[in-house]
């Protein structure tokens, strides 16, 4: 299963490396979203109750994760768009690879792409919104768990919509309500990691870890029946 997963993941990453769609389109899109948030929330605005930080700095964790989530939708769509041309999905089934391995492989590729995206968007968020970094350890755990949740749940739902003409509009409708608790947990854990205290963030990091494990399990179990008849 793990060997199959690695095969699929390296295939997807090679496709991305040669096509440059992620670096050339998805990444700039994410940065654009970060900048547009700055227009939506004026950078000079401060609230009376907490004048020491600009509003933009206070809400930076949520904006960062929103930008990641929106970019992730594109990356997920891309992950299955490359399978839906030229009967690739049928070819994938004919390879005889373990469906659970296919799920893990596609998820792993998305995971690595998202981490790369988060590094760039995170740097952008620090630069643009100017938030401090209080607890790097909590931030690292939060990023890992959130990315796993997004990659696992996203891959499962993108597969559900794969091969459909309405895929591009269906995936966001399916994925976003599911990832709403993840956005919530990631934002609160990141807030704690930036502004402290870290104790507020660890329960949410744990919640994100549990969510990630749940969707990894769901994906491993359901990918077999999902690929069988599509």
């Amino acid at each position: 299963m793990l060997r199959d997963a690695w095969l699929i993941a390296s295939k997807d990453l090679r496709v991305e490396w040669s096509s440059k769609v992620l670096t050339g389109q998805v990444l700039p899109f994410g940065v654009l979203v970060l900048i547009l948030f700055g227009f939506g929330i004026s950078p000079d605005r401060r609230v009376v109750e907490a004048p020491e930080r600009a509003v933009l700095e206070q809400v930076a964790p949520g904006l960062f994760w929103m930008a990641v989530l929106l970019s992730a939708l594109l990356a997920l769509g891309r992950s299955f768009a490359i399978e839906s041309v030229d009967g690739n999905l049928d070819a994938l089934k004919l390879t005889g690879l373990d469906p659970a391995g296919i799920f893990l492989g596609k998820g792993l590729a998305v995971w690595l792409e998202l981490v790369a995206l988060e590094v760039v968007l995170g740097a952008g968020a620090f630069l643009l919104y100017g938030a401090p970094l209080g607890h790097p350890g909590l931030l690292a755990v939060t990023v890992a768990a959130t990315t796993t949740s997004v990659a696992a749940a996203g891959t499962l739902y993108a597969a559900l919509a794969s091969g459909l003409r309405v895929r591009d509009t269906l995936v966001p409708l399916l994925v976003l309500p599911v990832l709403a608790p993840v956005l919530l947990g990631a934002t609160l854990a990141t807030e704690a990691a930036l502004f402290g205290p870290a104790g507020d963030g660890w329960p949410w990091a744990g919640f994100l870890g549990a969510f990630a494990l749940l969707y990894l399990g769901a994906g491993i179990l359901s990918f077999g029946p999902l690929l069988e008849e599509t």
Binding site: L160, L170, L173, L174, A180, P181, G185, F207, L214
Partner: protein, 256 residues
Amino acid sequence: MTQVETANATRGATSSKATRMLGVLSAVGVAALLLFGLILSPPDVAQADSVRLFYIHVPSAIVGLYLAFGVTCLGSIIHLRNGSVFWDLLAGAAAEIGVVFAGFTLVTGMLWGRPTWGVYWQWDPRLTSTSLSFLLFLGYLAVRRLDLDPAVRSKRAAILGIIGFLNLIIVRQSVQWWRSLHQGSTLNPVDAQIDGLMLFSFFLGLIALTSVFFWLLLHRFRVAWMEHQIEAASVTTALAARRSEAADYDGLAGNT
């Protein structure tokens, strides 16, 4: 599918003796709920008359989110295990009605919020998580409406129905947790010192709406079942027509 139901389905009616009884029961239940909820039960000490919304708001939340989506989850599990068309259609019918009840819960919740909080929308844990659950199952219904091979569509919908229900619980728990960290728990509709008649009205609402749910479910399911049979029949008819055409052609070819 009992024989009576099959007979009804082929005759083209969605009602039977049982559904007519259930329909009458639902109508009486709703009428009684109106009587008790609006007239006989006393106004609340703190919330005055707006408390009356709870007799319909809370039951519709329970019936929509837990009963209806629970039936969807159960039907989806059974469908995935043995491919039963019956349970697949039942899951779909329950989800449709569940979405209606969830929407009703949102509207009544907001109507209650206006006099109580002064605004229609508060980031109240229940209201927030209900809106997400509502959208979650709209996605499920979108998948059910896809132009796909029915077997494939049912399988995908079933996977979504199971995960959707699990996710509904996660959403509710996480939102609850989120808000409880920031503010005290919201008003509990069934608090300890509730008036007897109020509690009665609440349970009456629960029974009446459960009855309405099952009544709608039976009808909606039977419509879906008939659609399924028409689809199956039209394939058979088309096959027979093609076969007879082929036979005619063979016959003509033989004559000349």
